[in-house]
């Protein structure tokens, strides 16, 4: 675990000039590269990649010093910025070689009524009714974008992949899906199917 450190010293030193700032940057760089190597070892990542990511992260950190609020150690905060940069870069590299045709234009969430013939008749009826209602709500209450985003997630795509495909960003896609989930929950509740009921039927 990271040793205790003084966030204010880091901020002050990084804001400084000359040797003090250079020493702080060098120390931070060493810390970030070590963490990146530890985190991504065995994932096709080499030291040069980690050095590049650490350099880019330090530029971001220097520009964001005002945003450090001291809720965590400075180094933990800095590492979170470096990790986000690394994950983002690795995803970009992955997308260069992966087709995103999984979510073709116009492909939207469709629900087929499941064949649950092995279930007890009473439970089967209840499950079937919930699924029928869900199908109706998806078709009548959700936007095309919401259906596409849900379909992507259920097909195993990450939020980032859906965002890339739809020309959006991670946060916007997450909100799109969240709004869809809330809308469907409200409508299902109005139809008599609250959260616990649904969970007991489909656990």
């Amino acid at each position: 675990m990271v040793a205790a450190n003084d966030g204010e010293d880091w901020v002050a030193n990084l804001r400084s000039v000359g040797d003090v700032q250079a020493a702080a940057i060098a120390k931070l760089n060493k810390f970030l590269v070590g963490g990146l190597l530890r985190s991504f070892s065995g994932k096709g990542v080499d030291a040069a990649f980690c050095e590049d990511i650490a350099q880019e992260a330090i530029v971001k950190i220097l520009n964001k010093l005002d945003q450090f609020e001291g809720r965590s150690r400075f180094t933990t905060w800095a590492m979170s910025i470096a990790i986000r940069g690394a994950v983002s870069e690795l995803r970009k590299k992955r997308y260069q070689n992966v087709s995103l045709n999984q979510l073709s234009d116009g492909e939207q969430l469709q629900i087929e009524i499941p064949d649950d013939s092995a279930e007890q008749p009473e439970q089967l009826d209840e499950r079937r009714n919930v699924v029928l209602k869900l199908k109706e709500l998806i078709e009548s209450k959700l936007s095309d974008k919401q259906r596409v985003a849900l379909q992507g997630g259920l097909s195993g795509m990450t939020v980032d992949e859906v965002a890339l495909h739809t020309g959006s960003n991670r946060n916007a896609v997450y909100k799109l899906v969240h709004d869809a989930r809330q809308k469907l929950k409200r409508e299902l509740e109005q139809a008599g199917y609250d959260g616990p009921t649904i969970q007991s039927l489909f656990s």
């Binding site: 690394a86 997450y174 969240h178 809330q182 649904i198």
Partner: protein
Amino acid sequence: MPINNEQISKLLKMIATVQPDELDCDGCSQHLAEFAETQLLGKTVTESQKAIQIHLQNCHCCEIEFNNLLAALQGIDEE
């Protein structure tokens, strides 16, 4: 492409467990460092941190970043 029974169950679970005040990805990112320290130090998750926990359960992208952050911090000593 129709979804299968397993995906229907997953979708219904996502619907049943949704909270109106869930953190979005940007909000989660802002608190990821402090949450990582809570986890690494074995501290109890606070009420406000439960929102981070819920987001990480629902967002695979943020979960990946969090796990990588934990891996980066584990065992590191600054000096």
